[in-house]
Symmetry: C2
C-alpha cells in the first residue's frame, strides 16, 4: 500500500492541459485567467482631483494670494480648463483632470465662495495636495493581473477598467460523476430498511460548480455488463471520471477489473489512510483519468479535497495557494498505521491563530459532521497520539 | 460625522425579512437554509458491515471455532441473512445490514476461503468489530442542520441522504446597482483622455452572485431629472439600491437631494473612515434601503464588505461568523483622524498564525491592488501609528 504522499505525487504527475478559450468578461467569474492583463494607459490616466473644490497655481498662494476668481467650472470627464491670469482658479469636481497650469487643489470645506470668487480659509495649503497623479498606481503596459488567477469580482472590475471585455481563460475538463451500488436509491424515493439514498453524485457535482464545471451525474447498479457499457461510453466522452463505490474487496466490486478491461491502467489502488483507503486511480492512453473513490461519503469527500481538487487546480494552472495550518484543540489517539484525516471545526482566536477542534476522534467518519466542520486535519502517519497544542496542516472544504 | 461603529449599528438596525421560499435541493447551492433538517431515521439505519468478509456469532469464536460454513452471500441493500446453526456464517459486502443472529464481522484479509467455508487466520477478533451500529451517528428525529446555514455541497448531500428534495430557503432581496458619472464610459468603448471606463457595476453584481442574487445594473449620467426618474422607478421595483458616485460635495452630486425628494430619509451621510468617507445611507417607509457609496472603486469595495455584506447576511439570518484577526507585518503611519481600512495580503505561517502584509500604507486606494490583496485590515481610529506585530481585525474579500 502506498502512502498519502506517494499517492499525491502519482496524481500530480498526471495533470492535463485542456487548452484555452475566450469568454465575455461578465461571464468569466471563477474561471481561470490564461493571459496577462496590462494597463492600457497610465493609471490614473491624468492628474486627477481627489476632492470637490478649486484648482490653482501654488505660486499664487505662496506669494500671499488668498482670494481667487473662478474662471470656469469643470466636471469630471470634461476637457481641462487652463488658467492664464494670476489670481484665477478653476472650480472642479472629484475626478476632473487638471490642466498643466494648475498644481494644487483645495476642497470646498476650506473655502468661502461668493460672487464668483473663492477665498481660502485660515488653513495650511501644500503644493500638489488633493491630486492623484497620472501613472501613480500603474504605468501604461504595466502588468495588472497574471495567468493563473481565479477570476474574482475585483478582477472583473479591473478588466472592465482597462477595456478588456474578452478574456482568455483555461478550458475546463469534461467530467462524469458515477456512483455505484444496488443499495443506493434515488433521494426522492423511500428506501427499504436496508437501502440508503444516493448523495455522493450531487455532492461532487456541487463542489465542481465552484470551478464552473458542469458535470454529468450517473448511477450504476452492481451489474458488470452495465458498468462496462457505461464506463466505455464515458471514457470516450469525458476527460475525467469521478466514481464512488465498487472499489473494495467485495464480490460485487467490479469497477477495477472493468476499468482495466477497458484499457484504463491502474496507477495505484489503496492508500495508507483513513478514511478513503480503497481509492483506485488509473489513466487510459495518457489521456482520460479515473478517480475511483470508495463509496462512503466521508471517504469521497476526503479524497476529493486531498487529491482531486489539487489535481484540478494544477491542471488549470491556478496559482498555487500556501498550505494552511491550525493548532489542534484536543488530544487524539488513533492506533492504526494509517494516515488519519480528522474532520475539524476551524476557529480563529483574537491573536490571529487558527485553531482546530476535532469533531470526532475515532475515525468512523460520520458524514453528517461535514455540514458543521470546515476542514480535514492531516495527522502524521508516524504517530498514534496527537496532543492539544500541536500544529498540523488542514485541507479546508468550506 | 459618525464613526464606523455607529454607521455599522445604524445599518444593522435596518435589517429586512424577505420571507421564505421552497427550492429543489439540487438548485439550492449557496442559498440560506430556512428550516431545520432532521434525520428521517436512525443513521446508519441498520447495523452495517464496514468491510467485505463474513459475519458470525462471536460466542462461536469465543468457544474456539475457527472454521465457518458460508450459509449465503449477502450484498448491500439485501434483506439480512440469519444464521441458525452453530459454526455458520454469512458472507457479506460493505454496507450490508446485519441480522440479529450475527454480531461480529471479519474482513477477507483475515480469512482463508475454500469449499464454501471461511477459516479465520491467526488474528485477534473482537466482539462487534467492523460494524457501524444503527443510530451511532444520529437518531431518528435528531437535528442534522439548522436554519441559517449557507447551503454547501455537503449540505446538499445531507439533504439527499434524508430524502429532503425540497428545501425552505430565505428569499433574496431584489437589488438594483446604479453607478453615476458623466465621465464613466462603457468598458467596450475607448475613453477620451479625461474619461474612465465603468467598473463598479459589474464588480458589485459579481459579488452578489455568490449569494445567488441576480442584480440589475444601471448607469446614470449626471442629470438630475434623469437620476430622479430612474431612482423613482427603482425604488418601486427593488428592495435595495446599491449606488456608486454622486454623494460628495460636488455641484453635480445630485444623489442625496434627489433621494430625499423621493422620500428616502437619510440615516447618515459621511463616516470617519478612509476610504469611503462620503457614504450616504437612507431608507424609504421603513422598507427600501439605499446604500449610496462614493464612486472610487476602492471605496465601493470597502463599503460593500464592511457594511452591505454584514447587513445582507443579517437580513438573510445567516449564522454569524466569528470575526477574523491577523498580525500586521509592517509599520503604518496614518496621520488623519479617520479609521483607516488598509488593503492587506493574508498569509498563514506554519504555526497557524494569520499574517497581514499591507499593500500600501498611504491610504490612496489603488484599486488594481484589490486583485492581489485578500482583506481590509481595520486599524483603530484612536491611533495614528500601527506597528509590525500588532493584531487587528480583517474583513476578508477573497
Amino acid at each position: 500500500m502506498i502512502t498519502v504522499e506517494q499517492a499525491g505525487q502519482i496524481i500530480q504527475s498526471q495533470t492535463r492541459d485542456f487548452g484555452v478559450e475566450e469568454v465575455f468578461y461578465e461571464n468569466s467569474l471563477q474561471r481561470v485567467l490564461a493571459e496577462t492583463l496590462f494597463a492600457d494607459r497610465d493609471l490614473p490616466p491624468f492628474n486627477r482631483a481627489t476632492v470637490d473644490g478649486i484648482a490653482l497655481h501654488f505660486e499664487d498662494y505662496k506669494n500671499g494670494l488668498r482670494s481667487f476668481k473662478i474662471k470656469a467650472t469643470q466636471a469630471a470627464g470634461e476637457i481641462p480648463v487652463a488658467i492664464d491670469a494670476r489670481g484665477a482658479c478653476v472650480e472642479l469636481m472629484t475626478g476632473a483632470a487638471l490642466d498643466e497650469s494648475v498644481d494644487t487643489v483645495i476642497r470646498y470645506e476650506d473655502l468661502d465662495l461668493s460672487d464668483g470668487s473663492a477665498t481660502i480659509k485660515d488653513v495650511e495649503v501644500k503644493r500638489s495636495q488633493n491630486i492623484h497623479f497620472r501613472g501613480k498606481d500603474k504605468k501604461q503596459y504595466d502588468k495588472m493581473a497574471g495567468a493563473g488567477e481565479v477570476i474574482s469580482p475585483a478582477l472583473i472590475g479591473l478588466a472592465a477598467s482597462i477595456g478588456k471585455t474578452r478574456l482568455q481563460v483555461k478550458k475546463l475538463p469534461r467530467v462524469a460523476i458515477l456512483s455505484t451500488g444496488d443499495e443506493m436509491v434515488p433521494p426522492h424515493t423511500v428506501p427499504t430498511a436496508f437501502q440508503l439514498r444516493r448523495s455522493n453524485g450531487v455532492t461532487l457535482k456541487a463542489v465542481l460548480e465552484s470551478y464552473r464545471i458542469d458535470a454529468e451525474v450517473f448511477h450504476l447498479n452492481d451489474d458488470s455488463a452495465l458498468i462496462e457499457s457505461v464506463l466505455s461510453r464515458c471514457l470516450d466522452a469525458y476527460d475525467v471520471l469521478l466514481m464512488s463505490g465498487g472499489v473494495s474487496m467485495g464480490k460485487f466490486d467490479y469497477v477495477p477489473q472493468v476499468l482495466e478491461g477497458l484499457g484504463v491502467v491502474q496507477l495505484f489502488h489503496k492508500i495508507k489512510q483513513r478514511p478513503g483507503k480503497p481509492f483506485w486511480f488509473g489513466a487510459r492512453d495518457g489521456r482520460q483519468l479515473v478517480f475511483a473513490f470508495p463509496g462512503n461519503p466521508v471517504s469521497v469527500w476526503m479524497c476529493l479535497h486531498r487529491y482531486f481538487i489539487p489535481w484540478l487546480e494544477a491542471s488549470l494552472e491556478i496559482r498555487s495557494r500556501a498550505p494552511e495550518y491550525a493548532v489542534l484543540q484536543n488530544d487524539i489517539y488513533f492506533p492504526h498505521s494509517l494516515q488519519f484525516f480528522v474532520q475539524v471545526k476551524l476557529e480563529m482566536n483574537d491573536r490571529g491563530m487558527l485553531t482546530a477542534l476535532a469533531a470526532e476522534t475515532n475515525g468512523s467518519g460520520d458524514f453528517s459532521n461535514l455540514v458543521y466542520t470546515d476542514a480535514f486535519m492531516e495527522l502524521p502517519l508516524e504517530k498514534n497520539e496527537f496532543k492539544k497544542g500541536e500544529v498540523y496542516p488542514v485541507w479546508r472544504y468550506r
